[in-house]
Every structure is written in C-alpha cells, then in structure tokens.
Amino acid sequence: MNFIDKFFEKKARNVAQLSNRRGFIKGIAASLVGASTIPLLPVARAADAPVLPQEAGDPSSCDYWRYCAIDGFLCDCCGGSYNTCPPGTEMSPITWIGTCRNPIDGRNYVISYNDCCGKTQCGTCLCQRDEGDRPLYRSDKSNDVNWCLGATSSVYHCSTAIVVGIAFDESSSK
C-alpha cells in the first residue's frame, strides 16, 4: 500500500512540478507564438473538442478531495454547496487555506475554507481531516480559529472549500 501511495505521489508531484505558474505562462506564450505561424484549418478546429477541467467525488462526503485540511460542518449538507454558503448566512472574507491534490488532474490546488456565519452550527456532516493544518501561530493554515471573526456575526454555521489557485512546488520556483 505504501509503495502504491509513494508511486502515485511521485507521479503527481512530477505533474505538479511541470504545471507551476511560470511554466503555465511560458507554455501559453510559446503556444501563442506557435499558433500564429500555423494556419487555422477548418477541419482542425472542428476536430478539437474543448477539454474541460475535471474533478470527481461527492461534495457531501468528508473524503471529497477539496476537504483535505477542513475541520467543520460541510456547507454542502446545510443548504449550500462546497463553494456557496447556505441561504441567509454570510461568508467570512477572512479565512485559512489548505493545499489539496485533485485526483483527476494530479494538480495541487490552494483551497480557501471560508466559513459561513450568522446562524448557529449546521450540526451535520462534521468533517475533520486537518492535512496541512497548523496551530494558531500559523494562522493562515489554522482551522482552530473561529474565522467568522471577519463577518458581521461571529456565530459559525458551516465551512466551504473554494479553489482559489494552483499551488506551485517550492523546488520548481527556484
């Protein structure tokens, strides 16, 4: 099991290393230059169906990939969704973040766990994963704080998991 984990981790890390922001911009720039030298044939355009970003899993389940660092009630079970607060609540603009790997594309994403506030705890689908969670001294990565401190009401209701960026590997940014 460990061997399989390590194998896929290594593969995923390689993919992540090749997909950092600089690499992405470089790739875009190269493709734009390249594209301008190639005539756009009608046949080629018709053949290339757009490739959409993908993810998989059940957002009401604690093992959903975006919830890797979460500790709270899943808004998906509370009248909202993984990236939307339930009706009548308010999303706190201040929050903590985690880094989770999308198992479909092998990329690491920065996930913002914005709390929804203003009503008492939703009380269902409690999920505690805590991967990459750090104590209060790293408040940017700490889920021990009641992050509703940034909202009008400090009463916590549930947590979302919003993709706010692609994480880039430290080694490839040097």
């Binding site: 805590d130 750090r134 104590p135 209060l136 704080v145 400090s154």
Partner: protein
C-alpha cells in the same frame, strides 16, 4: 418440543403473576402513604427561608476540576462546570457552573479567590452588535464580581490553556487578542482596569514568563517575549530566533509547564524545552519522546488538549500509532507518562475508549481525566492504569478541556 412449549406457558403465567403482585404491592404502599393519620405528637416541619444559594469552600478539594463545556454544536450555552471527578454518586458531582458564551476562554487564579472568563455576545443571539467582555467571577459564590467591556477582538478558537495567563503574583492578567492581527491586553487585577494593549505581530497566545513578562509563539518558528513595567505598560519586546520550521517540523502550541520550564511537543514527538523563569524566554534544548523503534511505527502525540502535568512534575501525553500530517488533532489510544527531569518514560496506559483531551487533578495521588471518543469523561488511576469511572449526563455535550481547580 412439546415439553418446551409447556415450559414456556408456565413461564409466562409466572411472569404475569409476578407483575400483578408487584403492581398490587405498589398500590398498597401508595394507599398506606395517603392514609397516614396526622401525628399530633410530632412537631411540624419548620418553615424554611426562600432565596437560599449555596456557597463553595474557599479552597477546593484536589479532586474538583473545571470542565470546559464548549458547547461546540451551538456556541451558545457554553459553560464551565465545577465537577468532583472522584465522586461516585451522580447527584453530588456538580458543584457549580459559570456561563461562557461563544467559545469563551477561561483561567483561574490560585491566590485571588477569582476566575476569569473572556467571552462574547451578540445583542440578539446570532445577530446584532457584538460585545467582547472579560467577566470576573468570585470563586466561592460563582457570581460575577465585575465585567470589563473589551476594546479589542479577543481570541476566539477551540479551547486551550494559554489564551490567558497570570503573572506569578497575580497582579496582572494577560489576554490574547486575534483580529487576525495579534495583540495582548493587560489587566491590572488590583484596580480591575486595562493598563495596555500591546501588538505582538505574527505571534500569538500567552505564556507567563518571569515576574512581569509574557511570551508568544511566532509564525516564523520563533518566540516573542513582551516585558511590562510595574505599571503594566510595555517596557520592551524581545524576539527569540526560530527553533522549528512551521511548515516542515511543526510543534503543538500546547506545552506542559513544570516549575516555569515549558515543554512543547512537536507533531512527530520531539519536545522543545523553554525556560520561562527569567525576564525573557530562553531556549534550552530538544529531545525525543519516542524511540527509534517507535518512530518507525509513527507513534506521535495527538489530540485536542493533548497533554497535562501533575504536581510531581510528570507529563501525561496522549499518543497514537500510524501518525500522519492530519492525525495530530485526532487523539490517541494511549497516554504516556514521562519524568521530564530524567527524560524517561514511566508508564504507558491504554485508553480503550479513545482519548481526545486530558487533564490531571492536583495532589500527591492525582487522577487522570480523559475526554473520551463519546465525549464523556473517563477517570483513571494513573498509578495502576485502571479506569475508576466514566462520568456522563452532567450537561456534557462537548467537554473539550479539563482544568485543575484551586
């Protein structure tokens, strides 16, 4: 088969007869009570005064503890429950309670007959303007003696022992703020007035240091010591260089402190030792709680309030095997006891009902109190490792932290 059916019939008839007998006896008893003739030979019961309220002793017994019922499932109705964890009679366990709203923070003085709760209220339940308030309680009456309306945003997080701290003479109280800008507010406990709010950029929590100082853990892996003058205002601040990597080798922000020496366990079982006896915190050393063999099995510290100490200087640490990044807050299946002077492990106690948090009573023969996986309290004798009793149905929903009571 026939014999069996016959026996079954006899058994049912017997049951019916027994039930009728019990019912008739109860009726007869009731009749007896109702029909008691007035006893004119006995004096009537004295007329009692209304408005009686119990008062607690000036010094609490060693087996009393303050249970932080955090009310995590609603945030309203949190409270501190003063509980005798050695009492076997259910009705005699609770000694008193004090409300603690919206994940309030708690600390008790040892010299002053007081305890302090830092809490928050919205004017209309979950909405309306918010007020943070420091509520000062008299420990014997459990009544509020003063409220100080808070000018800053106090730290609101899962319960912990170091959101507030007292100077050794209990002249000053330090309170952690987090907005998320971090600061510390100082209260003069003689005058019950705020003397200062001091910024601690990037550094959080309150660890009492020396006579007039407080230290905080920083985001760069270092420490910051804030020194007060005798008026309770800022005298100086000192940064202690980083001693761990907050990403790669994180520590728990929950140390045990024994005779002003603080032991901060890391996620993987390294313990970092600080001397808090001087004016400025001083890093001493680090050593491992786990052997090489145990490291291979990924034995790690873990839990919410994952450690405590007794008055003999023994550290009680919740541990779990097969640890990973993410398991650090999940609790453990064992408690390991360490002599922190000799750095030797003294005992391993299995916790079959899982340990989320731990607290230890005062005294020479302390009791170990575990918040178990069912969010009840298991009381152990740490000398034998035996479970004494499980305490539930005392208003516990999420009793996440247990404090010594003085």
């Amino acid at each position: 088969m026939k014999v069996y059916t016959h026996f079954k019939k006899i058994f049912l008839v017997c049951c019916l007869f027994f039930s009728m007998t019990v019912f008739m006896a109860a009726q007869a008893n009731q009749k007896t009570v109702d029909d008691v003739a007035p006893r004119t030979d006995l004096p009537p019961l004295p007329i009692e005064k209304t408005g009686n309220v119990s008062v607690l002793p000036s010094e609490f017994p060693e087996t009393w503890m303050f249970v932080d019922e955090s009310s995590f499932m609603s945030m309203f109705g949190g409270k501190m429950i003063l509980l005798d964890v050695a009492e076997s009679k259910h009705a005699d366990r609770i000694k008193g309670t004090a409300d603690k709203n919206l994940l309030g923070n708690f600390i008790q003085a040892k010299i002053r007959p007081e305890f302090y709760i830092m809490e928050s209220f919205h004017s209309r339940g979950a909405r309306g303007p918010k007020t943070d308030v420091l509520t000062i309680y008299n420990k014997t009456t459990m009544a509020t003696s003063k409220e100080i309306i808070w000018p800053d945003t106090r730290l609101q997080s899962l319960p912990r022992r170091h959101a507030m701290a007292l100077t050794p003479d209990e002249k000053f109280l330090f309170v952690a703020n987090f907005s998320p800008a971090a600061s510390i507010t100082v209260v003069d406990l003689d005058t019950k007035e705020i003397t200062a709010t001091i910024g601690t950029p990037g550094c959080v929590l309150t660890f009492a240091t020396g006579n007039r100082s407080v230290s905080s853990l920083c985001s760069n892996g270092g420490m910051l010591t804030t020194v007060l003058n005798e008026s309770g205002k800022l005298k100086s601040q000192h940064r202690i260089k980083a001693f761990f990597d907050t990403d790669k080798t994180p520590i728990f922000e929950r140390p045990v402190i024994i005779n002003e020496i603080a032991y901060f366990p890391s996620f993987t079982g390294e313990v970092h030792v600080f001397d808090f006896s001087g004016e400025v915190a001083k890093y001493l050393e680090h050593w491992s709680l786990v052997s090489e063999d145990e490291k291979k099995k990924n034995w790690r510290p873990g839990g919410l309030v994952l450690n405590d100490t007794d008055e003999q200087g023994i550290m009680y640490q919740i541990m779990h095997p097969d640890g990973y990044d993410g398991s650090q807050t999940h609790g453990g299946s064992q408690v390991w006891l360490f002599d922190m002077q000799t750095k030797q492990r003294l005992k391993v106690i299995d916790i079959p009902s899982w340990a989320v948090s731990i607290g230890v009573t005062r005294g020479e023969k302390p009791l170990m109190v575990i918040t178990n996986g069912e969010l009840q309290l298991d009381v152990y004798n740490p000398r034998t490792g035996k479970l004494i009793q499980t305490i539930s149905d005392f208003g516990n929903h999420t009793p996440l932290l247990v404090h010594k009571a003085y």
